[in-house]
């Protein structure tokens, strides 16, 4: 018994403490509770890691109590730790701790300080539950929980209409995905009779491919919702309404990768459903390109990184789809490093510019915020796959695997990598180079914010090299050999460098070029700038018809017509009957009582008539 339950329980305690009494606490106490609870659970993770010599040989599995039991089917509250889980735990708790520390600095002057940290801790709890889960239902609990927390945190500034609507959007879009997920679970229960991972995966090979494909596709739908893949990615960019630490923790590092994790976890199912794998790969690739193109033309710094998140998630799905699960997880980890860093850096920039998010009003920050500049540079290098940074390793692992699967995928991926490098560096140049075009005096952020930046910078530079996930996960997902083709690596690196150079050329050397390009390719530019009008399309095709239908049919037709009609009819009827009955009511209690007694007597007589036989029978 290694008491895995402690890992999620600690943040939950923090949530309870801050959520219930936080209003009373001074900020220091809130900080202490929030950070300590997460750091403690990180420490617990380390303890587990060190105490288990070989996770591959002996995965820890703990059963706490049976949650649901009906007939042969039973779901227990089980936690399990294998290498995959361990990596996820490390990422979640480690980066979670860093971001909590960062948030104490970033949120220092916000309203509802305690509320923020309560939600963050609650999120940590659900995320850890999701990662530790040993069966689909427990995973689903965490899955829904993180959705709830992301909703709460996106809508954190609930006085802002946009924030609340963004929160609702995220929640509703996720509902679609969760719907798929629950259907998948039903299918699993029907076909496997259990939700327990080990049993399901051991039984998976024997099942018909059609079932597995259906399950896998439904799971994929869920993953698309949570991990913002086409067609359900629309919520993620809007989710940037939330505070930046939230964007970093939930919408970059951990929660949005839950889909990838889930697909990897369900590898046993996916690998036996090639069609599903194909779909995953294509969706991932499409998302990657799509989001990258949108990212090219965004001016809100957080929006840029949001779209880059979407496209990087696309990469991960590509990796999963082409069967390089470990590569996907690797990229998940490195992406967690550098994207968290990007967001935190963006937060620091926004902090420096007094809440300004539009890059056109920034610039020249490198002399005001040198540390931020430096760390962001590291992150940008990493994301654009600069040699020997973390992104370089993971992205190449995916791309080479993709090449082994289908060359065209590789090429598209490489181009996307170039675009990624371009827009990330564009953001970098626009922010840090040139003259400061904003208002007020920009300033460097407090050390409590810089320290996590530095740590993450180190990780995003060296992370990929030090944590070679494919080797770690070799026991679970054997590396597809033969794909070690250095030329592919060179090509992708070259594309990345081209992107960087191009952005430097366009946004530092001669700045009027972008406008001209935008002008010349007006139509295309507008298309990209307006994110392909996807939101509008969804509104036109899905949302509005639904609203109209429910107003006309359900509201006016069913509700007012039928239900109200029935209710009113009953009301009038009873009124008229009561009019008859009220003659009996003399308003005198004792006469009522008399009637009651008479009724009793009548009842007794009836009883007597019916039961005399019985009575006689007993009598003898």
């Amino acid at each position: 018994m290694r008491n895995l339950w402690l890992i999620p329980a600690l943040p939950f305690l923090g949530f309870l403490a801050n959520g219930i009494f936080g209003r009373k606490f001074p900020k220091g106490v809130v900080n202490a509770i929030a950070i300590l609870s997460v750091v403690a659970s990180f420490a617990k993770v380390l303890v587990v890691f060190l105490s288990v010599p070989d996770l591959a040989a002996t995965p820890v599995h703990e059963h706490y109590f049976t949650w649901i039991k009906s007939g042969a089917f039973s779901v227990g509250w089980d936690f399990a730790v294998d290498k995959l889980t361990m990596i996820m735990l490390m990422i979640v708790t480690g980066i979670g701790s860093l971001i909590h520390i960062y948030a104490t600095g970033y949120m220092a002057r916000e309203e509802g300080y305690y509320r923020f940290f309560a939600y963050m801790n609650l999120f940590m709890f659900f995320m850890l539950d999701l990662v530790l889960a040993a069966n689909y239902l427990i995973l689903f609990v965490g899955w829904e929980g993180v959705g709830l927390c992301s909703y709460l945190l996106i809508g954190f500034y609930f006085v802002k209409k946009s924030a609340t609507t963004a929160g609702n959007k995220a929640f509703i879009v996720n509902r679609i995905g969760d719907f798929g997920f629950s259907l998948a679970m039903f299918l699993i229960v029907v076909n496997f009779g259990t939700l327990d991972f080990t049993q399901v995966f051991s039984a998976a090979p024997g099942k018909p491919v059609g079932t597995l494909t259906a399950i896998a596709l439904l799971l994929l739908l869920g993953a698309c919702g949570k991990s913002a893949q086409i067609p359900l990615y629309v919520w993620l960019p809007d989710a940037m309404e939330g505070p930046t630490p939230v964007s970093a923790l939930i919408h970059a590092a951990t929660m949005v990768t839950a889909g990838v994790y889930m697909c990897t976890r369900s590898a046993a199912i996916f690998t036996h459903a090639p069609v599903a794998m194909e779909t995953v790969a294509i969706i991932g690739l499409a998302t990657a390109v799509f989001a990258a193109t949108i990212g090219l033309a965004q001016n809100d710094i957080k929006k840029v990184f949001a779209y880059s998140t979407v496209s990087q998630l696309g990469y991960m799905f590509l990796g999963v789809g082409v069967g390089a699960f470990s590569a996907g997880i690797w990229h998940l980890m490195t992406h967690a490093f550098f994207k968290a860093l990007l967001f935190l850096g963006a937060g620091s920039v926004i902090h420096a510019c007094h809440g300004e998010q539009d890059m056109r009003h920034m610039g020249g920050l490198k002399k005001y915020a040198p540390w931020t500049c430096l760390t962001l540079a590291c992150a940008s290098l990493a994301i654009s796959g600069f040699p020997f940074t973390s992104g370089y390793f993971s992205k190449d692992a995916i791309l080479s695997a993709a090449y082994g699967y289908a060359p065209w995928m590789y090429w598209v991926g490489v181009v996307t990598a170039g675009m990624t490098a371009f827009y990330v560096w564009r953001a970098f140049w626009m922010t840090f180079m040139g003259e400061y075009k904003g208002h007020g005096h920009p300033h460097e952020s407090p050390p409590s914010m810089l320290a996590p930046l530095v740590v993450l910078a180190v990780l995003s530079l060296g992370g990929g090299y030090f944590f070679n996930v494919p080797k770690i996960l070799d026991s679970m997902f054997p590396i597809a050999e033969g794909a070690e083709n250095m030329n592919l690596t060179y090509i992708s690196v070259v594309f990345g460098l081209i992107g960087i150079a191009l952005s430097y050329y366009m946004y530092v050397m001669n700045k009027e070029l972008p406008e001209r390009i935008a002008a010349s390719f007006g139509g295309l530019y507008n298309l990209i700038y307006n994110k392909y009008f996807v939101d509008e399309i969804y509104d036109a095709t899905v949302v509005n018809p639904m609203i109209i239908g429910s107003t006309t049919v359900l509201w006016h037709g069913v509700d007012q017509g039928v239900i109200d009609g029935i209710v009113n009819g009953v009301g009038t009827e009873s009124k008229s009957i009561g009019g008859l009955l009220k003659q009996l009511q003399s308003g005198n209690i004792r006469s009522y009582a008399t009637w009651v007694v008479l009724g009793a007597v009548a009842l007794l007589i009836v009883m007597g008539v019916t039961a005399m036989g019985f009575a006689a029978g007993v009598g003898q």
Binding site: R590, A593, V597, V601, M612
Partner: protein, 166 residues
Amino acid sequence: MDIFFFLVFAAIALISAVNVVLQRHPIASALSLIGVMGSIAVLYLLLGAEFIAMAQIIVYAGAVMVLFIFVIMLLNAGAEVRRGRSWTSQLLGIPALLAFVGLIVLFVQRGFADAGYVKFGNFTGGSAQSVGLALFTSYLLPFEVTSVLILVAILGTIVLARKEMD
């Protein structure tokens, strides 16, 4: 022995009950009612329900009736006036009651003629232990519900009292 005790206390109970109905002063009725409850408690003892008997005394005689007397004193309620308007009850009441009692006696005579005899000590299931066991195992939910009921009653009383205060 049993028969003797039963007759004595049944007689006390009946006389006191009649007294409850006939006495025109509330205090007198209340005291007679205490008499009824006390004798019923003794009958419980004869029936082997010692815990319930004690609870009867503590709850009814010790708490409920004290409340009654308390209220009677507080309102300083005098003997009631001879005025009534309820002809239904006056006319129908007595025959209805007589019919009621008659029928029940008939049925009981018929149905429970050989339902067995009550002898002191031949049923010892009424000890506090067994009652408690039954209460906290098979009747746990009703028990909790009654606690909620009592809570509600307390709240209601407080609200009424406050309204009555201002």
